[in-house]
Assembly symmetry: C2
Homo-oligomer: 354 residues x 2
Amino acid sequence: MIHTDAVVIGAGPAGLFQVFQLGLLGLQAHVVDALPEPGGQCVALYPDKPIYDIPGLPACTGRSLTAQLLDQASPFLDADRLHLGQQVTRLEVSAQVPLGQHRFTLHTDQGLALCARVVFVAAGAGAFLPRELALPGLKGRPGNLHHHLHADSGAPAPWAGQHLTVAGGGDEALHAVLSLLQAPSPQAPAHITLLHRRDQFQAEPALDAAVREAMQQGRMHLVLGVPQSVQQADDGRLLAIDLAQADGTHTHPTDHLLVQLGLSPKLGPLADWGLPMARKQVGVDPATFASGVPGVFAVGDINTYPGKKRLLLCAFHEATLAAHAAAALLNPDAPQHLLYTTTSPLLLQRLGRA
Amino acid sequence: MIHTDAVVIGAGPAGLFQVFQLGLLGLQAHVVDALPEPGGQCVALYPDKPIYDIPGLPACTGRSLTAQLLDQASPFLDADRLHLGQQVTRLEVSAQVPLGQHRFTLHTDQGLALCARVVFVAAGAGAFLPRELALPGLKGRPGNLHHHLHADSGAPAPWAGQHLTVAGGGDEALHAVLSLLQAPSPQAPAHITLLHRRDQFQAEPALDAAVREAMQQGRMHLVLGVPQSVQQADDGRLLAIDLAQADGTHTHPTDHLLVQLGLSPKLGPLADWGLPMARKQVGVDPATFASGVPGVFAVGDINTYPGKKRLLLCAFHEATLAAHAAAALLNPDAPQHLLYTTTSPLLLQRLGRA
């Protein structure tokens, strides 16, 4: 169990700047994010698209902005405090522990437990999780049903030497197929089928062309259809998918199924934490960005208040006021006058710039 | 008379980003500032001090941030819309003109008149004006009493070949003395006296040392004392200053007096515009940053609302929400859904990035 001042849920721009502002105020934070890298939807959805409305940055990208925010937060954030690839599944409030002490316990799906005095929900539209393929009648989570192609670790892939079906028609699916075709023999499937609902992809032209070429060369096949039902072995293992095709239903046997439909934000367990919400957003007080649960704050796209605009620059303001409100809650006797990084020796010392 | 959608009072970071956000929303703005260059107190008071808390800019300075904000606003701000070195002295509200039309007329001390549909007060702590020297008994504004050394225009200086007294003991005064000592002969005074209340300066060591050296070389003189009264000619011209000195009052004759006591923010006429204020700050609604006068918004250090922190990053948020509120006021029938610079062809076209 890790004890810390604050847990920030979400390592997107709002969460990273939240850590920075907490650090300036002398508060230590740990960050949890479902994605394998920081940056949130900025990095997951539009890493290289230019962004023109960050104040003082005439042009940047999701990736470059994230790098800058990580650099800025670095005096207060190291690898030990950044918990990636895991989702917070449970938030426990110990009502008998006084507000300001360690009354919050957060549990992740990887078994991590964090005990905190305040919590910041900077979860954007929710945790970015792999989109599921609709497989009517599926029972349990078969061991040969996979989501998300992981970076090559050198270990033998579960589908090595077998028949792998990749589901999807976007960048993620086509990219996976091309990577797998180039995989060295100990990891490569014996055969690859791409499963999509129609003979048209929504992918970058270069990926599209490369996959079409591989199909013509017979290095892989395309199967069209929409899953209607599945056939599973006694141990739950997936044996085949029954596909609705133009000329009726056909059975498509496979050894493994890799679903590559991209990422989709899921509010998930957060909806059950007792935070007063409206339209999947946490209502907050714009003076403090406090949620309806004392000690829990919400900043960025996840929150709502009169006038709310879902813009990064607004999230930065929200994180700043939330940090100050949390500091006032945790240290009610400390002087609350504002210090500036241009002039305050204390802030410069915390930043390592003294 | 210039007609425009918006007038922004103040060309500091808040005012510059206000212009950018208005431009994104298709609204044209003119900016007025009392200072001779943009950047507000960032540039006037701490141009080269590092700032560490601008989101996504791990380190910048007042000067570099201003340059970046000017660059960012450049699609919407040219020299014709930036009115520097003049103070807005009067704000007229034509109550019979409907809200949303050109009901506001602003007058500056340089005779400029601007007619606008909405007004944004981004005036920080007020207009930065030269600090005055207390000259008891002074009548009128003598033509040989000057404030603020202007950049050398090549034209003959009013004090050329005459006796100039420079008042002050800080960076501004010492810098002026050293500049004047190096001025080419058509502009140079015949003699320079530095007038300060004591034989100690509050200036950078390098400036201090250079002035001390010039004194030792007899290239200028230091006179100590505090003005008690002045002697003026019939036409109001200043003839001499009576100075309280350690051994009594002495008369210090001079041809010109240049007061170099630095800049000080003055709320000035703004206090008389009928905006509901508390402690020299304009009260605003944090959903819109609207002041108590419909159509007039206030952003940055000049405003106040629950939770207010006087930080640049908060001013950026305020300017953004104020721009959206103004756009909703001016175009009540336009769709109000949020457009993003990453994806909106309309915004990219307005930015000149299409």
